[in-house]
Symmetry: C2
């Protein structure tokens, strides 16, 4: 982790560079998996699982018995934690319920917009060393509040055909019961196209390895919606001389343990703090079980010193971080000037881990600078809108000149006919 002291504006672009993870190399492999399952259905799905995982469970769907047994495997302490986190997440997402809009724009011209749930959604939760049951809460809770009728979950199983118990427990807490033991690009294909066992969904959510990410990207240009383009996780910490260097270092490290592609950036206006943080990172790093991963992420992580707080703000807005921690004397003063970030953590007692797990906000957030235009997941991500309009004969009459003039100026005569025929030719 290097310190950059007051870099020139011309150097910012390089300092804001993320690790490039556009995985062109696996495009053919993933395209082949998608195509074979799209065309071959259930049979092809089983063959692909067999080929990729080395075995395929007899029954892909998790049984009621397996679900019930999983609860027994999860400690009471972890159950309580998951329940508490679920309660907070539920409360914050319930508050996001969008209202309907109804406006009579002119007499006899009534326009409405309603939010409706997306009928069938698919959630993907990776397995392996870090079973992300927290992500399941972040996806399944808003899906149920939105009113999605069918919620499908795909997650890989181990070589004994078992799915991680904490993942199954979290699914139970959220009321998700259609769970399939499928991982990787195979899972995305199954949900995107549907097979005999896995229902076709309309939108796919959730993180995954490079194969999952690539598969989501590829199906999204076809007929399925996805939550958002995914990149490595990232944090930007803004700190001033009041910040505790140990807290800052812990925040940077909690980002870097996610994966070798993760990135942690510190912006500060104090050289002493910069050096203290650097030392703290070294000290704390040593005690981490995932220190090898963290070390690799630290190679493209940076400490940047700016004299002015305004410059820190400008840099942060250009970087558009997924997570932004503002550990400064007047954090809201800064936060109110931030226009591009996924989620902002205010003050010294708001570590990213609070939002990653339990405070109530969603942890599925835009990365790679997309936070300048994309939003993190919210209740609306599991809904879509329909607009409605109802014109009375009088309403259409009062708008008719407007529609006819515009349609004819655009050269669309049949558009104006549809108005004229109603007004001058009514049987």
């Amino acid at each position: 982790m290097r310190i950059f002291d007051n870099p020139l504006n011309t150097e910012w672009k390089d300092l804001q560079e993320r690790v490039n993870t556009n995985d062109v190399a696996i495009e053919d492999t993933v395209a082949h998996i998608l195509k074979s399952i799209k065309e071959g259905g259930e049979q092809a799905l089983r063959e692909q699982i067999e080929k990729i995982e080395g075995f395929c469970p007899e029954v892909l769907q998790v049984s009621e018995e397996e679900l019930a047994n999983a609860v027994l495997d999860v400690s009471a302490k972890l159950q309580r934690a998951i329940n508490a986190a679920a309660r907070n997440i539920r409360e914050f997402h319930q508050a996001q319920k969008p209202g309907a809009v109804e406006v009579e724009t002119m007499a006899g011209v009534s326009c409405r917009r309603r939010y409706l749930p997306i009928d069938r959604v698919g959630l993907y939760i990776p397995g392996g060393s870090a079973p992300l049951f927290s992500t399941l809460l972040m996806l399944a809770i808003p899906a149920t509040i939105a009113g999605c009728k069918d919620i499908i979950l795909c997650t890989p199983c181990d070589e004994n055909g078992r799915v991680n118990s904490a993942v199954l427990y979290a699914a139970t807490v959220c009321g998700v019961s259609k769970i399939f033991k499928i991982g990787g690009a195979q899972a995305i294909a199954a949900m995107a196209y549907g097979t005999d066992s896995v229902p076709k969904v309309l939108k796919i959510f959730g993180p995954g390895n490079r194969y999952v990410t690539k598969a989501k990207q590829m199906v999204s240009s076809q007929s399925v919606a996805i939550d958002m383009p995914a990149g490595p996780s990232e944090v930007l910490v803004m700190a001033d001389e009041n910040a505790n260097a140990a807290f800052v270092a812990a925040d940077l490290l909690s980002q870097t343990e996610h994966g070798p592609d993760s990135q942690a950036i510190l912006l500060c206006n104090d050289e002493i703090l910069a050096n203290e943080v650097l030392m703290e990172v070294e000290t704390q790093l040593d005690a981490l079980p995932r220190k090898d991963i963290a070390k690799r992420a630290l190679e493209h992580s940076r400490i940047i010193i700016f004299e002015e707080v305004q410059t820190m703000i400008d840099f942060a807005n250009e970087y558009a971080p997924e997570h932004l921690i503002i550990n400064m004397i007047d954090p809201w003063e800064v936060a109110n000037q931030i226009t591009a970030a996924g989620s902002i953590f205010i003050g010294e007692f708001s570590p990213e881990s609070a939002g990653d797990y339990a405070s109530g906000t969603n942890h599925t957030l835009p990365t790679m600078g997309l936070a300048s235009a994309y939003s993190g997941l919210g209740l609306e991500s599991f809904m879509h809108t329909i607009t409605y309009q109802e014109l009375s004969k009088k309403g259409l009459l009062s708008l008719s000149n407007v529609i006819v003039s515009m349609a004819e100026a655009e050269g669309l005569k049949a558009h104006s006919n549809a108005v004229k025929i109603r007004l001058y030719n009514h049987k």
Copy 2:
């Protein structure tokens, strides 16, 4: 246009098939244009324009004088029409302003979400035979209401370097003044990457030809957001024995004049109406200036008879039409059971052209069945959300067991450290 009488459920998929427009053939051409402008900036942009259009205007940006003069070219009648449509569109989109959410999920744990404008947006409006100034209203009005700081418009000019006057007038009405005379994939590249003259934008909106559509699709997998995947326009009309066949035929035809790939589907429960509509289509078609286009679109348009209204509803939801006209005796009874459509037109006096131009709803809507998961453009399309959380020391303390238990169960020790260090090690 063929009539299908009570098709079996197994035949539905074929009847719901759209014209496939995934343009793999032009991928290389578009990729080359994008790459050269990304790398070569302004100089490459001018070269590409020169090469593709045969000439490149000396100054790409529309001048204040050109803007002022354009107004003189637009008839008072068309000006009034554009003003009236703009007023309705403004009113309906202003009513969509999303509120902030603020919840204290636990004592000392405050979670918020705010909507912010996307700072710089790019709008594309095609030129050519049908200058879509109506689309400019649909994009620029919500962009200004959202509070987007920079609104860039690209639209092609004619061989004399002139942009369509109605487009410029509509831009003036919306308060858009940064207008560039650039069309095609070149315009998308310029806005996606930025050049000396064209600012880089964060999200690109608007329809276009196959090159524009492909370019938007390709840049969207990089660093720029786009409004939505685009396909040919489509309408599904639901009608019963009370419907006037001439109205229904006019609605089907107004869809088919958009382009040869457009699709119009009629669902009805009455054989007599089906045959009347077929005859009316033939009669009305003959008088249309764009009848050659409409004829080609009619080749993949269909009339489908179902005995039961419920079957019509099921079919419509599976088709998920961009536009749905419900010309039936109790249209709201049906509309309330529709879960997938872009925009719904209620009753016999609500032709699609009303919404295309003037009633106030947005006409940029999801096609190709994506209406089951995507929304049409709304005010929020020009905004994004940021979530915020602020924990007091007491708030963090009361959540600490939850966070630590979950982080450690996921194998993320640095995440739990970021909590522990704040509570047990505070300087």
